[in-house]
Amino acid sequence: MSEAAAVIEIRNVSKAFGALTVAHDLNLVVRKGEIVALLGRTGAGKSTVLNMIMGNLSYDSGSIRVAGFDPYAEFRKLRGRLSVSFQQDRLLPWMTAVENASLGLRILGKSKAEALSVARTWLARVGLAGAEDKYVHELSGGMRQRVSLARALAVDPELVLLDESFSQLDHVTSKALRADFSRVVREFNKTCLFVTHRIDDAIEMADRVLVLEHGASMVLEERIVDDDRTDGERRATLHGRIAAAMGGQDSE
């Protein structure tokens, strides 16, 4: 069976801010339909990598391709192909839940009616049916994060990037949201790269776990199978390996 096409392809990328090297000769490939977790201790370069993939940050050498385009040099060409859900929900307070979820679609040029209709469907998929017309301040933290995920998914992107999207939620809400998100992403065969510092998030959601250390160099790559999630012993062993690669750091 041939390998799926690469949605993210990072080859020998280096990046420095003055004398500080934040990425050195980094290689990373995420294929279509994969959910990949990017872990690392604070300062390992996770955010730098994510910002380079998002096109917010240039790189000094190597090459980055996202859906076939250079995300920095061809910033506009990734319009509609990539969306991001951030650590904070970043909802616009003057919009209702459904208006927030439809924001990306409106920016992509869909009519208001069509965008709202699609956004309603996505809100229902992430468990927010009935809350569409509530303003941001009327929603709980978990509900707001669900709106943020619906906003990211509603544009039907090839790639969804999550930047610690579940880390500010309580354990129960975070677990429920992770499960819902994984289900939706797999159901619609989306490609997802998510940055997290929580090992359990990575094991539960990802097909593959990548651990970075300072300078964004890869120190561990683990493929996750269902048994790793369900078998307590295997899970504990995997957790230990990842934690060791992260220098024993895990927030949970």
């Binding site: 991001v84 307070p93 003057w94 924001l103 301040h137 544009v155």
Partner: protein, 278 residues
């Protein structure tokens, strides 16, 4: 498109309220809030009544004489109120439009910003009286004089507050919107426009009393019609009761406009949470 603004805040807190909120809420908890106003008004009426017993009526007229003059204005001179209100409305509408545009350019165009900002700040340093006298020399038509005076006085308030509003735009929201690769119009339509609306309301509420004083003063020196012109006439004919009556109507006019703006603000900014400070 990359939006270039100078972020003022590092952390976005979506349910926190902008500073204008406190002014808007100002204790809207029923009729109780009007009691102090009623008490103070009654005390003023009583003071005028008592004073009118001891001084001649051309110094302080009785409340009854003031009411009579007010009735006369309401029945015979109401058109002047309409003229003043129309002048005020047109000038404020123009000042909002122009000031917001200047503020947006200042907030989004770093190369133009220092020059526009300097221009606006220099404008704020020019006394209103200077503009009035200059307008008399420059323009023959009293309507243009008044429009010019009000515009040059009000525009800087809107420009500076809108600029400040754009600086306060959380960087997190800009990054979120830009992750969808928006056009400049989309950034304006979905982010900057709605974000600056509270700042426009705040400015309007702050300047409305000042704008009324300015239009009256401008009418007094530069026009034959309008409340200011009628007050000038009353002064030259020694009708102090009429001056008191116009003053009373101006206070009511100001309060009515403030209430209208506040009501409009409550509708437009209904997304903001009600907050109680204990």
């Amino acid at each position: 498109m990359k939006l270039t603004v100078e972020p003022k805040k590092d952390v976005y807190q979506p349910i926190s309220r902008p500073p204008v909120r406190a002014a808007r809420e100002g204790g809207s908890h029923g009729l109780g809030e009007y009691v102090p106003t009623i008490v103070v008004s009654a005390a003023l009426v009583a003071a005028i009544q008592i004073a009118s017993w001891f001084v001649p009526p051309y110094i302080i007229p009785s409340p009854a004489a003031i009411l009579q003059a007010t009735w006369h204005i309401l029945t015979d001179d109401l058109g002047h109120v309409g003229i003043t209100a129309l002048r005020l409305f047109i000038a404020v509408a123009f000042a909002i439009t122009t000031g917001v545009l200047i503020g947006i350019v200042m907030g989004t165009q770093p190369r133009v910003r220092p020059y526009l900002r300097s221009l606006v700040i220099i404008d704020t340093g020019i006394p209103a009286l200077s503009w009035m006298l200059v307008a008399i020399f420059w323009f023959k038509d009293p309507e243009i004089r008044i429009f010019f005076i009000l515009s040059v006085i009000l525009i800087p308030f809107y420009a500076l507050n809108v600029y400040d509003g754009i600086r306060a735009l959380p960087k997190e929201l800009i990054d979120m919107v830009e992750s969808f690769r928006p056009s400049r119009w989309h950034v304006m339509r979905f982010l900057i426009g709605p974000h600056i609306v509270p700042y426009v309301f705040l400015t309007t509420k702050s300047v409305i009393g000042y704008a009324i004083r300015m239009v009256i003063f401008a009418e007094l020196v530069a026009s034959a019609v309008g409340i200011g012109a009628r007050m000038n006439l009353a002064q030259s004919t020694f009708r102090i009761d009429t001056i008191f009556a116009w003053t009373l109507l101006l206070v009511i006019f100001n309060l009515t406009l403030q209430a209208l703006v506040a009501a409009l603000e409550n509708v437009v900014l209904r997304y903001r949470p009600e907050t109680e400070i204990r």
